[in-house]
C-alpha cells in the first residue's frame, strides 16, 4: 500500500504565545514550531501498516520553519520519501489554503491512503483532512484509532465520546484523520536523523495558488489565566458553602 502522510508544523504551545501588534495573528518572530502531535500518530500508523503489509510511505509537508528537520525525522523513522511544498507560505496558512495546495500536489502522486493528524492546534477554519479529502474527491474518516488494510479497502475504527467506537470499511483511496496509532510514536535517534540528512534529499514541489478560508480574523486575544489559586479561607462550613457556590455558578452541580 502506498501511503501519504501529511505532516504539519504548529507553534509550540510550551512557549508563551504572543499576539502580533495588529491583533490578527500570533507574533511569529519568536515562535518555535513543533510537529503536530497527531501527525506523529499518523506517521506511526503508516509505519505500522507498512511493516505489516509492505508498500511505501511519503511524508508531505508545507514549507515552514524547521520543517526540514521534521521531514528528515520522518525519513529516519522509516518513510521512503519526503516532499516539501514550497511557495509563498509566510504567516498562518489557513486549513482551506493548505488543503488546496496539498490536493494540487497530491493529485500527481499515486497513493492508496492519505493519513493526516485528526486536527492541529491552529485549525481555526477546520481540519485539513476532510478539506483535502473533499478537494480530492476521496472519502474521509476522522478520529481514527485503528486501521487495518484489507485488499482494496481499509477497516477503520472511529472513536466517539464515552468510549464508543464505530467500525467502518473504507474504499481506497481514502483520507483518514488519525487520533492515535496503536502504539506510541516511535523514537528517531538523533544520530539516525543526522545520517538521514546526509543520505537523503527532500523533494520540493511548487505550491499552487490557493484561496483562503473566507474568514476575516477580527482579533486574537489571550484568555485570562489565573496564575495562582484564589484561596478559600474559613471553617469547614464556610469552605464547603463557597465551593458549592462556585460549582453552581458554573453549572456543575447537575453532574
Amino acid at each position: 500500500m502506498n501511503i501519504i502522510v501529511i505532516v504539519k508544523h504548529v507553534p509550540d504551545l510550551v512557549e508563551e504565545l504572543e499576539i502580533a501588534e495588529d491583533g490578527k495573528d500570533l507574533n511569529r518572530d519568536f515562535l518555535k514550531f513543533v510537529v503536530n502531535e497527531f501527525d506523529d500518530q499518523a506517521l506511526e500508523q503508516a509505519l505500522l501498516l507498512k511493516e505489516k503489509g509492505g508498500g511505501t510511505i511519503t511524508a508531505v509537508a508545507l514549507d515552514a520553519p524547521e520543517i526540514d528537520q521534521t521531514l528528515f525525522t520522518c525519513l529516519a523513522k522509516g518513510a521512503d520519501k519526503a516532499v516539501k511544498i514550497v511557495g509563498d507560505l509566510e504567516g498562518r496558512v489557513t486549513s482551506h489554503a493548505a488543503a488546496h495546495m496539498l490536493a494540487d500536489a497530491l493529485k500527481a502522486m499515486s497513493h492508496d491512503l492519505i493519513l493526516t493528524g485528526v486536527q492541529s492546534a491552529e485549525d481555526l477554519d477546520g481540519q485539513v483532512g476532510p478539506l483535502l479529502a473533499t478537494y480530492l474527491g476521496e472519502p474521509h474518516v476522522s478520529v481514527v484509532t485503528g486501521v487495518e488494510a484489507r485488499g482494496q479497502m481499509v477497516v477503520v475504527r472511529q472513536e466517539y465520546a464515552g468510549g464508543v467506537t464505530g467500525e467502518f470499511e473504507v474504499d481506497l483511496p481514502a483520507v483518514l484523520g488519525i487520533q492515535a496509532a496503536p502504539q506510541p510514536p516511535r523514537y528517531a535517534p538523533i544520530s539516525r536523523v543526522r545520517a538521514t540528512m546526509k543520505e537523503k534529499k527532500l523533494v520540493e514541489i511548487q505550491a499552487a495558488a490557493a484561496d483562503g478560508a473566507g474568514l476575516n480574523v477580527r482579533q486574537m486575544v489571550r484568555p485570562q489565566v489565573a496564575s495562582h489559586a484564589e484561596m478559600i479561607e474559613g471553617n469547614t462550613d464556610t469552605v464547603v458553602e463557597r465551593i458549592v457556590g462556585i460549582m453552581a455558578e458554573r453549572g456543575l452541580m447537575n453532574g
Binding site: 510550551v14 508563551e16 535517534p189 544520530s191
Partner: protein, 435 residues
C-alpha cells in the same frame, strides 16, 4: 557400568498452565516459575553485545557474584550484572529485555568486580543499539529525549524560562550574555535547579550563598542546555553529542576562571566526558571544573563565620554516585555539613565508596514508572528507609536529582514528618539567615 545401548532423550513438555500461589498462569508464563530446562546456549546476543564498542568486557565475567550484593537494583529486585551475563549466555536479547533499562550506572559493581566488567560502558552501548534498532524504549524515556532535543531540558519547559528561577532569588543573578566581561565563576545551573520547583529552591539558595561570599559569578541563562551525560548513559549518544557540541561552543564565547556545577552529572560530563568529545571534534575544552561543594569547601574560612544560625538536627548524607564513586569526592560535602552549627552527621551503612544509589542516574531519573514496574520499591524509597533506620531527621543531598526523588520517597514510605530532605546549599543558606 558404562551406559549400554542408546537412551531416548526425554521430551520436555511445557505445561499448558500451571498454578502458582493460587494464580493460574497460561502458556509461556509458567516458564517464569517452573525450572524450565535449558535446551540451548544461544550466544548470538552475547556475541552481539561483546562486539559493541564498549560492550567488550561483558565476556570477562566469571560469575563470581561479587556485583550482585552491591547492586542497588538487586536490593529491590531480581537483578545484577552477573545475572545479566548469564541471561545473555542463555540467549536472552538484552536489547529487548527490561533489565536493559534498570541499570542506573551507579558503578558499585565495577568497584568490586575482579574482572572489571564495565557495566558503565556496556549498558549505554547496548541501550544505544536498542534505540538504533528501533527496539522498545520506555515511553517516558522517549518523551524525555524528545523534550531534551527540542527544549534542552528533560521537563519540556520553555528554554526561554530557564533563568526564571533567578527572579525570586532575592539577589541579582547576572547572565553571561549581559555582563559582557570576564567573570570568576560560571555557575552551570542544570535543568532541575532551573525548572523543578524544589530544584529552584536550591538554585536560589546557591545564588544567595555565592552573593554573600562575594563571588563574581554569572549563569548562561537561556543559552544553557542539559549537559547530556545522563542522556548518553541512557543510550541516546547522538543527542548527547549534539548537546555537548552546543554547550562547548556556547562556553567558548565567554571568559571565566572556573565552572562551578550544581550537579554531579554535569561534573562528570564536564570533567571526564566532554574533554574526549572536544578532542575528537577539534574543539577547545580546558576548564577548571568544580562541584559546588568543592568550591565552597575551598572557602570554608570565609564561609564558616557567616553560618551563624544553628540548625539543631541529626542528618545523614547521601553520596551522589557521580560525585562519589565516579569522581572520588566524598569529603567536600561532609566538610560543609560539619561547618553548619548544630548539625550532627550520622553515616548510613551504605556510604562513601559503597553509597547506595537514588535510582536517578544513567537515565533512571526518566524511567521511574518503568523501573517501578520491575522492582519491589524504588531505590529512593529504599534509601529513605535506610536514613530513617539510622536515626536521621534530615537527609542531606547535593545532587539536583535527589531532593525530589527522596521527598517522593519520604511520602510513599509513610515517613512524612519523620524525615526531611534538603540540599546542602539550602542548609547553608538557612544557616546564614541569622536573626
Amino acid at each position: 557400568m558404562p551406559v549400554k545401548g542408546v537412551k531416548q532423550a526425554p521430551i520436555v513438555v511445557e505445561k499448558d498452565s500451571v498454578t502458582v500461589r493460587g494464580i493460574e498462569l497460561k502458556g509461556q508464563w509458567n516458564r517464569m516459575f517452573e525450572p524450565r530446562v535449558i535446551d540451548d546456549y544461544d550466544l548470538t546476543h552475547l556475541d552481539r553485545v561483546a562486539a559493541l564498542s564498549g560492550g567488550e568486557s561483558i565476556e570477562f565475567c566469571y560469575q563470581c557474584g561479587k556485583c550482585v550484593p552491591v547492586c542497588p537494583v538487586d536490593v529491590v529486585g531480581n537483578y545484577g550484572p552477573r545475572k545479566i551475563v548469564r541471561k545473555l549466555q542463555l540467549g536472552v536479547d538484552l536489547t529487548e529485555d527490561a533489565d536493559l533499562w534498570l541499570c542506573t550506572t551507579c558503578m558499585n559493581c565495577l568497584r568490586v568486580c575482579p574482572k572489571e566488567v564495565d557495566m558503565i560502558k556496556i549498558m549505554p552501548a547496548v541501550r544505544e543499539q536498542a534505540i538504533l534498532d528501533g527496539k522498545f524504549v520506555p515511553p517516558e524515556l522517549q518523551k524525555t529525549f524528545e523534550n531534551i532535543a527540542r527544549y534542552g531540558n528533560p521537563q519540556g519547559e520553555s528554554p526561554r524560562k530557564r533563568a526564571d528561577w533567578a527572579k525570586e532569588a532575592g539577589v541579582p543573578v547576572p547572565i553571561m550574555a549581559s555582563v559582557k566581561r570576564p567573570v570568576d565563576v560560571l555557575l552551570y545551573v542544570g535543568s532541575y535547579p532551573s525548572y523543578h520547583p524544589r530544584g529552584k529552591d536550591a538554585a536560589r539558595a546557591m545564588a544567595r550563598v555565592l552573593t554573600a561570599l562575594g563571588v563574581d559569578f554569572a549563569i548562561l541563562g537561556h543559552e544553557e542546555k542539559e549537559d547530556g551525560d545522563s542522556v548518553r548513559l541512557a543510550g541516546e549518544k547522538g543527542l548527547y553529542e549534539t548537546l555537548a557540541d552546543s554547550t562547548i561552543k556556547t562556553l567558548a564565547k565567554y571568559r571565566f576562571n572556573r565552572i562551578v556545577v550544581f550537579g554531579p552529572h554535569e561534573y562528570n560530563a564536564f570533567k571526564n566526558v566532554y574533554p574526549k568529545f572536544a578532542a575528537e571534534n577539534g574543539l577547545a575544552w580546558d576548564y577548571a571544573i568544580l562541584h559546588y561543594t568543592q568550591f565552597l569547601a575551598e572557602r570554608l574560612d570565609q564561609l564558616t563565620p557567616l553560618l551563624k544560625k544553628p540548625i539543631e538536627i541529626t542528618t545523614t548524607f547521601h553520596d551522589p554516585c557521580y560525585l562519589g564513586r565516579h569522581n572520588g569526592e566524598y569529603d567536600a560535602p561532609r566538610r560543609l555539613l560539619a561547618a553548619i552549627p548544630g548539625v550532627t552527621l550520622v553515616e548510613m551503612g551504605r556510604s562513601r565508596e559503597n553509597g547506595y544509589c537514588c535510582g536517578g542516574g544513567g537515565g533512571g531519573m526518566w524511567l521511574d514508572s518503568f523501573a517501578g514496574g520491575h522492582q519491589k520499591m524504588r531505590l529512593s524509597e529504599r534509601r529513605v528507609q535506610e536514613a530513617v533506620e539510622y536515626g536521621a531527621s534530615l537527609l542531606s543531598v547535593c545532587c539536583p536529582y535527589e531532593v525530589s526523588r527522596f521527598e517522593d520517597g519520604v511520602k510513599s514510605t509513610g515517613n512524612d514528618g519523620k524525615l526531611i530532605v534538603r540540599d546542602i546549599i539550602e542548609m547553608i543558606d538557612e544557616a546564614m539567615r541569622a536573626e
